[in-house]
């Protein structure tokens, strides 16, 4: 039996589990279900990684239609490593949600499972229109989750979140339609290298890329992110931080390698936007008033570090993209850990406002240590995953060594300094200062160990990613090797006798 028939299972299992979670009347079983399904996803992802590393990319056409007109699922080592990491973040966020009582809302587990369905589907699809469909599968439960719990502001955040994402999705589907109109296919494998010398397709793909950039939260379309994520509860923000934006990053990498063929024409454009984006993200956090608002700007700060690597692929694309991928994995783990730490503080002390918290370093040594570790990691200090992430990005940019590279390196260092200042500000306001019981807080009140356990596990994982950087970097190199092996991907998706594939000389138009 060929292994490719197992690919739709990555979508089918969480989807079925979501339906079961709607029906089950027992909270305990629902809680177990929404943790165990992503937990199984970690091991399924590891199996997929091992399999694709050994045998090359695999693909399955639903209904066994011929390549080019089928609904394709495809996996290479790059999608496998993203599957593993999104599953890890989902496990931690759902574990935290269960502990703090978020799952008292009956449909919470069902919605998170549906969200995981969409993420797995978006990571495994080889078709732009199906990518849109799975993005919607991912977003519809998110619309529910974001307005489910949180402060009063969640209703306003919910509206912004729905409207921004709906506008971006509409733009995405219109872009996909125009791509189909000009070139006659939306299959990523069939669209391989069509942009070069074909301005019509370049403009159509540009619409798609802009729509995905909105979802990735990069300048100038980042403003929705820090205004919506902090309004919802910490468990939901932890889930979103690891899943939503990173799916967009994954797709931008895939489009860049497969469809744009890493065309250096666009390098300056990428560098310009990413440099502004990282500076805005680095320093805007200084003006925010709650822990999670600062963290939301750390997300805006982190995303361009990943995406700027697309502009420095001319010398050694495998290592450049691997550096970006390593930073992606680190960023997902670290931001989720920080958000869940903030969640543990909020769920115990009733507020995440910087002005209302102080002196936590004496009261809560473990929580303070976890937060400090996360702050070190997100800024890029050892002994945490962020150090290798940033070091490799800088080394790979320096390898190219042109003017854009030096501008990018300078911006990364200045933006990291901004991130450091933001984190120091949170540390000073929340963890230093006078004791809380002077402000009417009971001296016995403590954050229970169960609440900090999910964040602690993620930070231990981050330390592990620092210590075992060798095998991890090898894994990211294997992953980007799979991503760059576009011919094998095309072969796997389209098969022997594909139809509807645009010929290389076709210039499009009706």
């Amino acid at each position: 039996m060929a292994m490719d028939v197992l690919l739709p299972i990555f979508v089918a299992v969480p989807l079925a589990a979501s339906a079961i979670a709607v029906l089950l009347p027992w909270r305990l079983i629902r809680d177990i279900l929404h943790i165990i399904v992503p937990f199984a996803g970690i091991f399924a992802g590891i199996w997929l990684f091992a399999h694709t590393a050994e045998h090359g990319p695999i693909a399955h056409n639903v209904g066994l239609y011929v390549g080019g007109v089928a609904i394709p699922f495809a996996a290479d080592t790059f999608s496998a490593i993203m599957l593993i990491t999104t599953s890890i973040v989902a496990v931690a966020a759902n574990w935290f949600a269960t502990i703090v009582g978020e799952t008292r809302a009956r449909f919470y587990p069902a919605l998170t499972l549906m969200l995981i369905t969409g993420v797995n589907g978006a990571l495994l699809t080889a078709d732009l229109f199906n990518f849109f469909v799975f993005i919607e599968v991912m977003l519809l439960p998110s619309y529910g989750l974001i307005a489910m719990t949180g402060t009063w502001a969640r209703l306003a955040s919910g509206r912004i979140f729905v409207l921004v994402n709906l506008s971006a999705s509409t733009l995405l589907v219109a872009g996909v339609g125009i791509v189909y109109g000009v070139i006659g296919s939306v299959n990523i494998a069939a669209l391989q290298d069509v942009v070069e010398g074909n301005p019509l397709v370049a403009s159509a793909m540009g619409i798609v890329v802009i729509a995905i950039a909105v979802k990735a939260g990069v300048f100038p379309v980042h403003t929705w992110l820090p205004r919506t994520y902090p309004g919802t509860s910490a468990a939901v923000m932890g889930l979103f931080s690891g899943l939503h934006t990173k799916v967009a990053v994954y797709m931008l990498y895939r489009i860049w390698v497969h469809i744009f063929d890493m065309d250096p024409t666009w390098n300056w454009l990428i560098v310009a936007f990413m440099v502004i984006s990282m500076l805005v993200g680095g320093f805007a956090g200084l003006a925010e008033n709650s822990i999670r608002r600062v963290l939301a700007y750390q997300m805006v700060n982190g995303m361009p570090f990943i995406l700027i690597m697309m502009a420095f692929t001319s010398d050694d694309p495998q290592r450049a993209l691997a550096a970006g991928l390593l930073y992606t994995l680190h960023h997902m783990i670290t931001i989720a850990a920080l958000v869940l730490t903030s969640g543990a503080i909020e769920e115990t002390y009733g507020t995440g406002m910087l002005s209302k918290l102080s002196g936590l370093a004496r009261r809560e040594p473990v929580v303070a240590a976890v937060f400090a570790a996360g702050a070190f990691s997100v800024v890029g200090f050892p002994p945490f995953s962020g150090m290798w992430g940033k070091a490799l990005i800088l080394l790979e940019i320096a390898r190219v060594g042109n003017i854009a590279a030096w501008i990018a390196i300078a911006a990364i260092i200045i933006a990291s300094l901004g991130a450091l200042l933001s984190m120091i500000r949170v540390w000073r306001e929340v963890f230093w200062g006078g004791a809380m019981h002077q402000r009417g807080v009971s001296p016995q009140l403590r954050i229970s160990p169960a609440k900090i356990a999910p964040a602690l596990s993620l930070i231990i994982l981050s330390v592990g990613m620092f210590i075992f950087a060798g095998p991890l970097i090898d894994a990211t190199l294997t992953a980007t090797d799979g991503l760059l092996n576009t011919d094998a991907y095309q072969q796997a998706v389209l098969g022997e006798n594909a139809i509807g594939v645009p010929s290389p000389s076709y210039q499009g138009g009706n």
Partner: protein, 127 residues
């Protein structure tokens, strides 16, 4: 040409409506933009009038391209679901979209922070 003009009018109307303050108007605006996008997709695949996409009834040279129609069908279903969610959001809470009565985050009556603690911190000094 008429199709392109229709798309332009729908898009313009949608953009105007989502700049209004009330959520229900924004919902209408998003619906118009959704229709504009759907017509764009249709236009991408069906530049002129074509027959139905059934090979036994229409010769393949005259048949329409079924794929954009399938795209649009999927997009319409998704747009309907999101419209429902947005209408639910419009009905939630008070009439805050026309009057701004937003309390601070930390004094919110709907706050769910610290729900797992028996003695929340901030409640005492407010009460």
């Amino acid at each position: 040409m008429i199709l392109a003009l229709t798309v332009a009018i729908l898009f313009g109307g949608g953009v105007y409506l989502i700049q209004q303050r009330g959520m229900v108007r924004i919902v209408f605006g998003m619906s118009l933009i959704g229709h504009a996008a759907n017509l764009t997709i249709l236009y991408a695949g069906v530049p002129t009038w074509r027959g139905e996409a059934f090979p036994d009834r229409t010769p393949l040279t005259d048949a329409a391209d079924p794929l954009p129609q399938a795209f649009v069908l999927t997009a319409i279903v998704i747009a309907m679901a999101t419209t429902t969610i947005m209408l639910a959001l419009a009905a939630l809470g008070r009439s805050d979209d026309t009057r701004s009565i937003e309390p601070d985050d930390d004094q919110s009556p709907l706050t769910t922070s610290a729900r797992s603690v028996t003695n929340p911190t901030d409640q005492e000094d407010k009460a």
